[in-house]
Amino acid sequence: MTQSGSYDVNAIRREFPILKKSINGYPLVYLDSAASAQKPLSVIEAQREYEAHFHSNIHRGVHTLATQATEAFESVRTKIADHINAAQREEIIFTSGTTDGINLVAGTWGRANLNEEDTIVLSRLEHHSNIVPWQILATEKRFKIEVIELNEDGSLDESSLNEKLALNPKMVAISHVSNTLGTVNDVKRITALAHSVGATVIVDGSQAVPHKTIDVTDIDCDFYVASGHKMYGPSGIGFLYGKHSLLEQMPPWRGGGEMIASVSFEEPTTFNIPPYKFEAGTPHLSGVVGLGAAIDWLNSVGLEKIAAHEKSLIEYASGELMKIDGMKLIGTAPAKASVISFLVEGIHPSDIGTLLDGLGIAVRTGHHCTEPIMTKLGIPGTVRASFAAYSTKAEVDALVAGVNRAVKLLR
């Protein structure tokens, strides 16, 4: 593996203060970015700057601070719309994260459209956040949930996909990238197939946004959700993209300030237009500002360069890990983003995780909020190493050495 001449990972690392940290006497090797990415100084400082010098509640204010804060807030809406190539800025709704976004779609579009005779389709590799909101609604509305199964390598089983779409589902809910297996789904093709049978499509993009350029117009999905904290931004903030025609038809979800046109006890309360209709209460203002800074940061480094860097790391890591006796990679789909899940024969994943932590190496172990994958594979979980823009070949080497050492102790 050679690092592309123009990609200076050391310069990038210097922007992330946490990467200088020591854990248990070893330099931190942070391989848990799929759970949550670290934040560059520009993101941290943008939030600090906002809170220290610009904070005010937004909307409806006539004073200068309120007007400036509102403009800062709304400009990030435009930035996100541009970043994912939405047709209009009004198609971007701020949420508290991916989970919140999916629940919003389930609680509004889903509650209004899904009934007893209906079917929706999920895939086996969905995160709990793209399963449970539908299950909760289904206990009330009694529609059926069908599941697209996986091939051995963790890619979607094409015949299962076709079989489920043949049921004429009303909705297809699918991840862009699997957080456990790394599988990249061809959401553009799946959307086209789903639309051809009349289904509405929601794409869970939380693991895609840090690794890929997203173009919702090209994908043509109806909804797309993501979290700020997975894309080098703050926690507690995320966005939902929705086609404007759908947003206009959807009933409100949370009620409160700003989402209304007029509130009355005597006459019917009326609602604001999208996206404001879906943004009740004081939003996470510093989070929005930080998310804007995160998008700027991603663009300044270049998503293509990050993706190439991560790809070379993942290839190198896969090769090195496979040299370990008893090693089994879980998820080997041809199209794969920067997550490696693995198991070593006869060894519990949490033991490996604990020992790696002793060496300062942060990986995640367990079911990664994707229990249905574990049930199907009959495994208790995996060890997952995930890579980001700041990951290095030396960190891969530390991981491989650490796993080797752990395996020796544990056998």
Binding site: H348, S350, D351, T354, L355, L359, P380, G381
Partner: protein, 143 residues
């Protein structure tokens, strides 16, 4: 903290045993050894009813009151480090009177620097296991 009970003495013994290890990996190595040496739980007791479910590793715990009024714990885990920690708990709390078990404050994990494994935010089920052991102590002492 009781300074004179025999369960306290058992804890001190473990603390001393771990004093010779200078780094994490050595400590874990020792825990793994202890785990490997844990007397197996009999198959009839390794059942779902005795399962303490953590998010990641599972622990089976069985308790028996023998004819002399002494509690005997047997246990297992599918993760070896958890099993080693379980074995340490058993070294302290098994083969003891119900009331002793109920009353003992477990502090040895903190002393050997492994307290984080007992934190409520850990997903290994160890804290639930300790609670369960104490419950057995209380239940048996009520007999």
């Amino acid at each position: 903290m009781n300074t004179d009970t025999r369960l306290e003495l058992r804890q001190r013994e473990i603390i001393e045993e771990f004093e010779m290890f200078s780094d994490w990996m050595e400590k874990y190595e020792h825990i793994i050894e202890i785990g490997k040496e844990l007397d197996p739980i009999s198959e009839e007791h390794k059942v779902d009813d005795n399962l303490i479910k953590g998010c990641q590793s599972r622990v089976w715990l069985h308790a028996e009151l023998n004819s002399e009024g002494i509690v005997i714990f047997t246990a297992d885990s599918d993760a070896i480090i958890t099993k080693g920690l379980v074995a340490l708990m058993i070294r302290v709390l098994s083969d003891a009177e119900p009331l002793e078990i109920a009353k003992t404050e477990l502090h040895f994990l903190e002393a050997i620097g492994l307290n984080s494994h007992l934190s409520p935010t850990r997903s290994n089920g160890l804290l639930s296991m300790v609670k369960q052991m104490k419950m057995y102590g209380i239940a048996f002492s009520a007999r």
